[in-house]
Amino acid sequence: MITVRHLNKTFHDGQKPLTVLRDVNCEIRKGEVISIIGPSGTGKSTFLRCLNRLEEPTAGQIEIDGDDILAPDADVRRLRQKMGMVFQNFNLFEHLTIIDNITLAPRNLLGLSKADAEKRALELLEMVGLGEKAGSLPNELSGGQKQRVAIARCLAMNPQIILFDEPTSALDPTMVSEVLAVIRQLASQGMTMAIVSHEMQFVRDVSTRVFFMNDGIIYEEGTPEQIFDNPQKNATKSFINRIRTLEFRLKDRHFDLYDMFGQVQRFCSKYGLGEKIFGKIQHVIEEMTSEIMPFDTAVSVVIDYSEKNGTLTMTFTQENYTAADGIIAGADADNVSLMLVGGLCSEMTEPVPGTVRILFNA
């Protein structure tokens, strides 16, 4: 249904050009529910908005049912009538009642009579559970209700696909489920949809395919099972496991230890890691940097915390490590520091000589 090739979008309105989409390639087939996930600022919304040309792509091709929609003579308005869009901020027309919000486009663009349009609008409102709100004004509705009206407004145009641009991001947590329920219902009716969302459980349940976007491209794609249970690439993994990272590069033994502790403390309090684990980390850093790591050249320290699994990994890497036997294996059996560290953590390994990995269960 939709084929996207080498899509590029670069914004030029700032001081320097900002490339948001580098090279997006994908295919969306009829009846699919595509979810687009990824860290913020990676172009998910921009990609969606390029599909109905709310943003003009800088380069690339988008074909819908074989028609090139980026051609100069493409009928953009006709295209948009066939593609509904639901916005993060609902964008209901504040000056119109709910039912007029829904009938405005069908009456003006599809030529429906007032009676027909209102009949259909009431059906749709019933479907999203808001039949009794037909005569109300948008500002009398809650966020969740507004978003359901926005979905009904899209459906009134009988679109072939609906684009959801973070439909629940602006909602109070208590209202998220009512909107997701409506989208789930549409999915079960076989509506083709593309959804940008941060609701991982929902994405996993409702999608037929998941696009993981990172750095302006579709970095990894697959079924929800593939993406959530068995991600192949590092960025995907750290996103799925919600891995938070803190990195240091220590040039020699005389680095500023207390500054490092300060940063670690901020990291811990930000992600809700208690005093106890912070104390352990401090100990490990002290022992590793003073006794264990050889410091032939610089040493890098990476702290990864997976919010999803609740595990914390500290990786100490000696740069340009040349000895063949490894740091742990090469140490004395009665090395006090190593014993101390081993006692603090739940697992200590050296997968590659020169790289020590220490695991905690937070």
């Binding site: 948009r80 901020n89 964008n91 027309f93 405005l104 663009l109 209102e118 005569g135 004004l137 407004r153």
Partner: protein, 494 residues
């Protein structure tokens, strides 16, 4: 005006008098200009009296009140003596103000007609006419009739006036009874009669046009009027720009001052009654006010409509994606906002459109459209920009064109925010139309000026007109409020 307000005003004026009068000593009953030392003398700006004093008595203090304002100034003590042409005394009710003549036969001076240098032929024809008219005694007969004590003798001669041909436009200003004054049937007076005789004699149709005194010299220079009868004296400086005919009348000055002894004012109610009779009922003067009111309404309506159109145009330019249109609009807005409205109107009439001799109404409408269009456009822009961009996107995403999105989605919402600001601007516009008298439009303010200059009542016509402006702005405001209310979204029952 309420008695209380009146009291406050009198109190203020008396404070002013007591402040300015401190240590001022002068002869309360002067017999000639030499007795005026130490007093404050009021004579119209540029008048022969003013020139006389600055030449011969440079130490004297002169102020610039004229007509009705002068009487009030002398009455209230802002000035001690005033000078009027002796013939004008016919129209003055000095008693009413507690004033009296002090001395007369002062400064005899002659008044010529002024002609535009663009059409010098008229001046020659008029001089020939004047020569004949004086020679056969007609002039003396006419003067005797108009300037005598008998009111019944003051009427326009019935003459057969030419109807065809290009007419000569004669500018009139405020009333100077019995030279020129305004009745429900139009202008009347000695000068009007004289022009009728000239017209009948020469076969040139004459058309009278009422303008502000200050606007007449530029109008003569631009050639939008060909001639004026307001009494400007012949000076070398003026003769460089306009042509003077032979003088057709001479007059002398009279000095007026406060009556000696205590002046008892009439009670307020009877003064009010007298004011109403004098300013509105006599000679059906209310009709002048009413005509003026209709002109004010007419010009307000035209200007509002034109300003909205101009405002929409400038706003569209200002919000255009094309850089040069944006810049043009910005520059226009910044220039127009820095020019006083009156100056803009006069520039349009006497400079920009001078050679087209346009209808003043048209010029006023264009002027207001430019001036207020700029303000309207900025209020439109703020209104439109206050609508979230998401509303545009929602319209686009449904498949509406830019224009349809604007008309059906953005504008109805923007209007709700524009109207309150617009209301204030519109009221300002309505009030600003009071300056169109300057460019020869007989509006409500001009009508009140006319009545003031005829009845020498300083307050009542002003207050009447102020009240009418109040009602008018309230009315227009009410209409806008109803529009606002009808646009405000309402519930529906389905």
């Amino acid at each position: 005006m309420s008695p209380k307000r009146n009291c406050i005003l009198i109190l203020l004026l008396s404070v002013l008098v007591s402040c300015s009068g401190k240590g001022r000593e002068f002869n309360p009953d002067p017999k000639g200009p030499e007795d005026l030392a130490g007093s404050i003398i009021s004579c119209g700006q540029g008048s022969s009296y003013q020139r006389f004093f600055s030449e011969h008595y440079p130490d004297y203090t002169t102020v610039d009140f004229a007509n009705a304002d002068m009487l009030v100034a002398v009455q209230s003590g802002k000035a001690d003596f005033g000078f009027v042409d002796s013939l004008e005394l016919l129209a003055l009710n000095l008693d009413r103000y507690g004033l009296e003549e002090k001395f007369t036969s002062f400064q005899r001076h002659e008044y010529p007609m002024l002609f535009s240098r663009k059409t010098p032929g008229y001046c020659d024809i008029f001089n020939r006419f004047l020569h004949e008219f004086k020679a056969d005694g007609s002039m003396d007969r006419l003067l005797g009739r108009w300037m005598g004590p008998d009111d019944a003798q003051r009427y326009l001669d019935t003459l057969e006036l030419p109807a065809e041909g290009k007419s000569m436009v004669v500018a009139l200003s405020v009333s100077r009874y019995p030279y020129t004054y305004f009745t429900e049937n139009g202008p009347s007076g000695f000068q009007i009669d004289l022009m009728h005789h000239f017209s009948a004699w020469s076969g040139i149709p004459v058309e009278f046009k009422v303008m502000d005194t200050g606007a007449i010299p530029p109008a003569l220079m631009a050639g939008t009027v060909q001639c004026t009868m307001i009494p400007f004296e012949n000076t070398e400086e003026r003769a460089r720009f306009v042509m003077f005919s032979e003088p057709y009348i001479s007059d002398c000055g009279t000095c007026i001052g406060r009556k000696s002894g205590h002046f008892e004012k009439e009670p307020f109610i009877s003064r009010l009654k007298q004011s109403v009779r004098m300013n509105l009922i006599e000679e059906n003067r209310w009709k002048m006010v009413l005509d003026g009111l209709f002109v004010t309404i007419e010009i307000s309506l035209y200007s509002i409509i034109a300003s909205i159109l101009a405002g929409a145009g400038i706003c569209a330019m200002r919000m255009s994606r094309r850089k040069w249109l944006q810049t043009t609009a910005k520059v226009t807005i910044n220039i127009i906002r820095r020019i006083p409205l009156l100056i803009l109107l006069m520039i349009l009439l006497y400079v920009v459109f001078a050679s087209f001799h346009p209808e003043p109404m048209l010029v006023a409408t264009i002027g207001f459209a430019i001036y207020f269009g700029v303000y309207f456009s900025e209020s439109f822009r703020t209104g439109i920009e206050s609508i979230q961009h998401g509303q545009w996107e929602a319209g686009y995403a449904l498949g509406f064109s830019s224009l349809a999105t604007f008309c059906k989605i953005i504008l109805p919402q923007a209007l709700l925010r524009i109207i309150p600001v617009f209301k204030g601007l519109m009221i300002t516009l309505i009030k600003s139309t009071s300056i169109v008298g300057y460019i020869a439009i007989f509006d409500m303010t001009k009508a009140s000026d006319m009545i003031r200059s005829r009845t020498f009542d300083a307050f009542f016509p002003l207050l009447t007109v102020a009240a009418l402006y109040l009602i008018l702005s309230w009315l227009f405001g009410f209409i806008l409020d109803s529009v606002h209310k009808s646009l405000t979204p309402k519930h529906r029952t389905i």
